[in-house]
Amino acid sequence: MSDVDADAGAEHPDVAAQAAATVDEPELDRGIVEGWAARMISNPERAYRAAFYVATVFFLVTTLFPFYWLFMVAITPRGSLRDVGVFTPGGVNLAAFIEIFQRIPFHRYMFNSFLIATVATVTVLIVASLAGYVFGRLRFRGRNLLLLGVLVTSFFPPAAFFIPLNRLFNANVDVLRPILSAGSLYNTPFAIFIPLSAIYLPLSIFILMTFYSQIPDGLEDAARVEGTTRIGALFRVIVPLSAPGVATAGVLTFITVYNEYFFSSLMTNGRPGNWAPMLEGILRYQGQFEVLFNLMAAASIVAVLPVAILVVVAQEKIVSGLTAGGLKE
C-alpha cells in the first residue's frame, strides 16, 4: 500500500516538468474549444492523434455508409421508396429478400456466376501453376522474353480482344453441335470463363512464380531422388508447400471473375438458362414498365455477401496477393 503511494508520488522528471510548464502559463479564461486548441498547440502529438482518429472515422463512414444505405433501400416497401432518407428507411418490409427469387430466378443467376468463377479459378490455378513453376524455378533460353509476353497481355484493354472473340464465339462449329445445342459458344459458360481465365492468368502466374521460387531446391531434389517425376515433384512437393500462395491466387481469381462486368455482360443474351451471370440478374429488375429499385438493392446485398465473407475470411491473402501482383515488374 505505502509502496504504491511512494511510486505515485515520485513522478518522472519529464512529467513533472510538463506539469510545471502548464502551471506557468498565465491563467486565462478559456472556453472549451479555445482550451482544446491551446492544448493542441502546446502538445502537437495530441493534434496528430486527433487527426488520426478523425481520418479513421471518416474513411470507415465513407466506405461502409453506401452498404448501409443500400440496405435501407432494400427494406423499404415499394410504395414508399420516395421516403427513403439518408439514414432511415421509408418503412420495413423484409419480404423483398424473398421476392427477388420469385420475380426472376435470381438463384439461377447466382449459381451461374458461382460456376463460372469456380471453373475459371481451377483452370487458372492449374495453368498458372505450370507456368509459375517454369518462370520461378527453371532456367532456359527466352525466359525473359516469354515473361514479357505474359506481362504485355495484362496491359491491353479487354475491348481490344472483344470483336474477334465475339465473332469466334458466335461462329457455328459443327464439331460442337452434339454437346452444345446451338453449335456456338455464345450463351454458354465457356464464352465467359475462357476469356476471363486468360485475362486474369498473368496475375496468378506472378503470384505463384514468387512463391514457387522460394522453395529450396533441396526439397525438390529429394523428391526426385525418391523416384517421382518432375511433374510429380511440382504437384506433390512444391504446390503443397506453397499453399498460401495458391490460396492467394485462387481467392483473387475467384473474386475478380465473380466481379467482372465486360465479358460477363456481353457474352450471353442475359437469360438465366443461357448461363447469364449474376449481373444480368440485378439489371433485370429494371423492367420495361417499372424499375423495382428495392429488389435491385436487395439482390445486390444478396450477391455481395459471398465476396464480403471471402474478404473477411481471407483478407490477408487478398492484401498479400494484390501487393505481390502490383509491385512485381
Binding site: A131, F140, G149, A160, Y261, M278, A303, L322, G326
Partner: protein
C-alpha cells in the same frame, strides 16, 4: 491388369517428358498458358487490327467489307466517324465530354489523383498499430472486392432523383441539374465518385506495401533529431514510397482507361462515352464493326502511350534517386 495398362499409359508421356532437356521441359509446361493467351489475347489483337483496316458493311450479312486502309482511323481522328459519339473531334464542335478520348483521359487523370490522395491517407492509417486494426482494414478493402454491377447499383440508386439523396444534395450545392443520370457532366461526376469510392482501397494496399518496407530506424533517428511528424512524412516517408507510388499509379491509370461496366450500368454508354463504351456502341447501335475495331485498337494505342510516358517518369525518378 487393366489398371496396370492405365498407369503405363499415363506413365509413358511422363517418362518421355522426364528425358527431355530442361529447356524443352520448360516450353512444354508453358504451352497451356501460351495457348490460352494466344487464343484470347494475341490472335484477337492481330485480328482487331486487321478488321480495323476493312470497310464497314452495315446492311450485308458479313459486317466487314473490302480493304479500306487507314480510312477508319482517319475518320475517327478527324471527328467524322459515323457513330453516335465521336472518338476525337479536332474542331471541338462536339463537347469535350462527348468525345471518347477526352472523357477517358479526364476520367483517368482525375480518378487516379483522388484515389492516390485518399489511398495514401488510408495507407497511413493502416500503417499504425491500434486496437481493431484488422477490422478497419477489412472495412477499407471491402469496396475493392465488390462486383462492379453492385458498385454501379449503389451509385445509380443514390443519384436517382426519386429515391436517392445524392441528387438533392448536389442540386443544393448547385452542381447538378434536373436529371443527373441523363446529363453528361453530372453523370461523369457520378461515375468518378463511384470509381474513387471503390478503388482508393487498391491504391491504399499498394502504398501500404511500400510504407511497410521503409526502415523504421529512420523514423527513430528523425524523432531524436526533433523532426515533427509532418517533417518525418515529407522528408522520409514520401521520397522512400515514391517508386511504389508511381507503380501503383501506373496500374490504376491503365485500369481506369478501360472503364466500361460502371458507366454501362449507371448512366449508360450514350451519356458518358468512354473508349471501351464506344467500341460496344459501334457494334450494337450502328453495326459498324470495322470502325469499332479501329476504336478498340486506338484504345490500346492510347493506353500504350500513357504507359510509355509513365515508364519514362519512373526511369527519371530512378535516376534521380541513385
Amino acid at each position: 491388369m487393366s489398371t496396370d495398362t492405365e498407369t503405363r499409359l499415363l506413365a509413358r508421356p511422363l517418362n518421355w517428358l522426364e528425358t527431355r532437356s530442361e529447356a524443352t521441359f520448360a516450353y512444354i509446361l508453358l504451352a497451356p498458358a501460351f495457348a490460352l493467351l494466344a487464343l484470347i489475347a494475341f490472335y484477337p489483337l492481330v485480328d482487331t487490327f486487321r478488321f480495323s483496316l476493312l470497310a464497314d458493311q452495315t446492311a450485308a450479312a458479313d459486317p466487314f467489307g473490302g480493304f479500306a486502309g487507314l480510312d477508319n482511323y482517319a475518320a475517327l481522328l478527324s471527328g467524322e466517324a459515323l457513330l453516335p459519339q465521336q472518338f476525337l473531334d479536332p474542331s471541338f464542335a462536339t463537347p469535350l465530354l462527348q468525345q471518347a478520348l477526352f472523357v477517358t483521359l479526364a476520367f483517368a487523370v482525375i480518378s487516379v489523383l483522388f484515389e492516390t490522395a485518399l489511398g495514401f491517407g488510408q495507407a497511413l492509417i493502416l500503417d499504425q498499430d491500434f486496437y481493431g486494426r484488422r477490422w478497419v482494414r477489412v472495412a477499407i478493402i471491402i469496396p475493392y472486392a465488390i462486383p462492379i454491377v453492385i458498385q454501379a447499383m449503389i451509385f445509380y440508386l443514390m443519384f436517382n432523383p426519386t429515391i436517392g439523396f445524392g441528387t438533392e444534395f448536389m442540386q443544393w450545392l448547385g452542381v447538378f441539374g434536373e436529371n443527373p443520370l441523363a446529363n453528361t457532366t453530372d453523370s461523369f461526376i457520378i461515375v468518378l465518385v463511384g470509381d474513387i469510392w471503390k478503388t482508393s482501397a487498391f491504391m491504399a494496399l499498394l502504398i501500404l506495401a511500400g510504407l511497410q518496407s521503409v526502415d523504421r530506424q529512420l523514423f527513430d533517428v528523425a524523432k531524436v533529431s526533433g523532426a515533427s511528424p509532418w517533417q518525418r512524412f515529407k522528408y522520409i516517408t514520401l521520397p522512400l514510397v515514391a517508386p511504389a507510388l508511381l507503380v501503383a499509379m501506373l496500374f490504376r491509370t491503365m485500369d481506369a482507361m478501360r472503364i466500361y461496366g460502371l458507366i454501362d450500368a449507371t448512366a449508360g454508354c450514350q451519356t458518358v462515352p468512354s473508349m471501351s463504351c464506344l467500341v460496344i456502341t459501334a457494334l450494337q447501335e450502328t453495326r459498324r464493326w470495322a470502325t469499332g475495331s479501329a476504336v478498340a485498337f486506338l484504345t490500346a494505342v492510347v493506353i500504350g502511350l500513357v504507359v510509355v510516358v509513365y515508364l519514362f517518369g519512373l526511369r527519371d525518378q530512378g535516376a534521380g534517386m541513385t
